[in-house]
């Protein structure tokens, strides 16, 4: 189950190594396994896209890396979970706090609710920088202004005194990005950073994240349910379904030769400009399994899969190399040509 070494990055050591991550939740009406044996590496400076429907475990995976899952009810297990050589599973709370916001930072989905409504932007920006970089006074304010300027906010001095409700959604997300990058982290985790925003602003924010992380040499993870959003901004893509990785490939390859029927379905459900007008947009029929109630024996996607056979229902496929750098978890990977 070890992922094959990435050919083009063989020399570089991964900054984040996750191997066999399992996240369980014990709830009142039963146990739920939200993340099932997920393994991946993240290399310095690269951009990884993580795609899947809501509830597929993509957010939980990265919240677990930050150890932001409340335990209990959650429980995080992994064979290995290391950040630049440091074991994240065994790290003390104090060690984790030194990593959070400093070495690994996070941008969340809804900028409306992710900022504290009763504290000014300045206050919320300063506290992280103060904590991790030890700046204070004038240099602290200068740093905040510089960051706000960098994310394209005009009149940054004024904005420091604003409360979140006085800003628009797009500006708030820029503030969140500025806050996340304030301590020059090695990794930026962006959890659906554009879902709650207007369509016109989504693209700006995605490009801002791409450009800034590229400039700073920060590795980034872009978590989204929209395959279109990661097309132009990521190096590699990991597709998740029902708590597992179903396909992992470099971005161009994934778009050119998707092998998992689920990936193919996702690709076909992206609206395209070059499609003839009036053609109905494809949507994958059915709904993802309820991880709380259903026990999944075979492939979790089988009930919705057009190619499903007996084997698919009986036995779960594992994530196997299909081509160099291209991993697929599907019995039918070889004959799953894109159709339609």
């Amino acid at each position: 189950m070890m992922p094959t070494p990435m050919q083009n990055q063989q020399q570089a050591k991964p900054i984040l190594e996750v191997h066999g991550l399992i996240v369980r939740f014990t709830l009142r009406d039963g146990a739920l396994i939200a993340v099932r044996n997920v393994s991946f590496d993240l290399f310095p400076g690269e951009s990884l896209g993580v795609v899947g429907e809501s509830g597929c475990g993509k957010s939980v995976t990265f919240l677990s890396v930050m150890r932001l899952i409340p335990t209990p009810p959650g429980k995080i297990d992994a064979v290995k979970m290391r950040f630049s050589g440091m074991d994240l599973l065994d790290a003390s709370k104090r060690q984790m706090r030194r990593i959070r916001g400093n070495r690994i930072s996070m941008v969340f989905q809804d900028p409306m609710s992710s900022l504290n409504p009763v504290l000014t932007i300045g206050r919320q920006m300063r506290e992280g920088i103060q904590l991790h970089l030890g700046l204070s006074g004038r240099s602290l304010d200068d740093r905040c202004i510089e960051l706000l300027d960098k994310v394209g906010i005009s009149a940054p001095e004024m904005r420091l005194k604003s409360y979140p409700h006085q800003l628009s959604g797009g500006i708030r997300q820029r503030v969140m990005i500025a806050m996340a990058l304030s301590c020059n982290p090695s990794i930026l985790l962006a959890d659906e950073p554009t879902t709650a925003l207007d369509v016109t602003i989504q693209d700006q924010i995605l490009r801002l994240i791409r450009d800034l992380t590229r400039d700073l040499g920060t590795a980034s993870v872009l978590i989204t349910h929209n395959l279109g959003a990661v097309a132009g901004t990521t190096d590699r893509i990991m597709v998740m379904y029902a708590g597992r990785i179903v396909e992992k490939a470099p971005t161009p390859l994934l778009f050119k030769d998707p092998r998992h029927p689920y990936t193919q379905g996702l690709l076909r459900s992206i609206p395209r400009v070059d499609q003839p007008a009036g053609r109905r947009l494809y949507s994958i029929s059915g709904a993802p399994p309820d991880l709380l109630r259903e026990t999944i024996q075979g492939c979790a996607f089988a009930p919705r899969c057009p190619l499903a056979e007996e084997q698919c229902v009986a036995q779960a496929p594992s994530l196997e190399p299909f081509a160099p750098e291209h991993l697929v978890s599907c019995w039918k990977a070889a004959d799953a040509h894109q159709h339609g």
Binding site: M66, L68, K93, M96, R97, R98, I99, R100, G101, N102, S105, M106, F108, Q109, D110, S113, S114, L115, N116, P117, V118, L119, E127, G128, L131, H132, Y163, H165, M176, M179
Partner: protein, 313 residues
């Protein structure tokens, strides 16, 4: 801000007007036999007609209301039938004691209610949470007068402690005077503290689930900073509004405590006035206390605006 205050003040006027009207009505519906009793039992006048004249009940209702409002606006709440003193003077003489008692109870309430509520929320579903929650429901269910009576009876039986009968005026010995209020204010604070604790717990639990708490944690802030700086302020805003409602409750409670611990405050005065059938005093105290509570609620509303930047003026 100025506009907000002006608007709130303007909204206050109809409420005050209504309150004064209600107080006026309540006292006017005294059945005829009450006046008879006032004459027969208390000897406030030689006959009913005279007493009616003294009370101004012989005039037409609109006339009565006009006099009542005009006098009230001048700060004249009438004259006590019992003592012959102006009611306002009698009230203001007793007010500081009641005020100190209520303030001390409020102090204990906040001192215990908020930290315990936070603790209960942070330890949700542990034995400590269950214990604190049971204690708070217990605190809400135990009548304050029973608790006070228990303290007095068992204090005397076990520790030979008897609440002092002679009240020490604040001017004579401030510390000893405040010391006399410790037990009554503690008893008074039990139910208030329990409800503040429940409210704080509920709000803390709600706030701790908010996205911005996750953001704060993702910054690497310590749990302590997350709770104090990011969660507490947001949780306490709704708790503040509960405090407004509790003011009325608190004033009611002082009546009982002053009665049990024989403290010459406003509550005791009201009870005495009821015993003496001193209606001008009853009317005056009602009007005075309601106005006071309306003003306190206004201050709380304004504080609300200061604490929550989302409220627009």
């Amino acid at each position: 801000m100025k506009r907000y205050i002006t608007r709130r003040l303007l909204l206050l006027l109809p409420t005050l007007l209504l309150v004064s009207f209600l107080v006026f009505c309540i006292v006017r519906i005294i059945p005829g036999d009450a006046v008879t009793l006032m004459v027969a039992e208390m000897g406030f006048a030689d006959d009913e007609a005279e007493l009616r004249a003294v009370l101004g009940l012989d005039q037409s209702l609109p006339r009565q209301y006009w006099n009542y409002m005009r006098n009230a606006l001048r700060g004249d709440l009438g004259t006590s039938l019992w003592s012959g003193q102006p009611v306002l003077e009698e009230i203001t003489r007793r007010l500081p004691l009641t005020f100190r008692l209520a303030l001390m109870a409020l102090f204990w309430t906040l001192l215990t209610g908020i930290p315990l509520g936070v603790l209960s929320a942070l330890k949700q579903d542990t034995w400590l949470d269950y214990l604190l929650r049971s204690v708070s429901v217990g605190g809400l269910s135990i009548p304050s007068f029973w608790l006070a009576t228990l303290l007095v009876v068992f204090g005397a039986i076990w520790f030979r402690w008897v609440p002092p009968i002679d009240f020490i005026p604040f001017g004579e010995d401030p510390l000893a005077s405040l010391g006399q209020l410790v037990v009554p204010s503690l008893v008074l604070s039990v139910a208030l503290s329990a409800s503040i604790m429940r409210m704080t717990r509920t709000m803390m639990l709600e706030v701790m689930r908010e996205d911005y708490i996750r953001t704060a944690r993702a910054k690497g802030l310590s749990e302590w900073v997350v709770v104090i700086r990011h969660a507490l302020a947001n949780s306490l805003i709704p708790v503040l509004s509960i405090m407004g409602i509790q003011m009325a409750f608190l004033v009611g409670g002082t009546v009982i405590m002053e009665s049990i611990f024989v403290l010459p405050g406003m509550g005791k005065y009201l009870l005495d006035a009821i015993t003496w059938r001193d209606y001008p005093v009853i009317q005056g105290i009602n009007l005075f206390i309601c106005t006071l509570i309306i003003c306190i609620n206004l201050v709380i509303d304004l504080l609300y605006g200061v604490l929550d930047p989302r409220i627009r003026y």
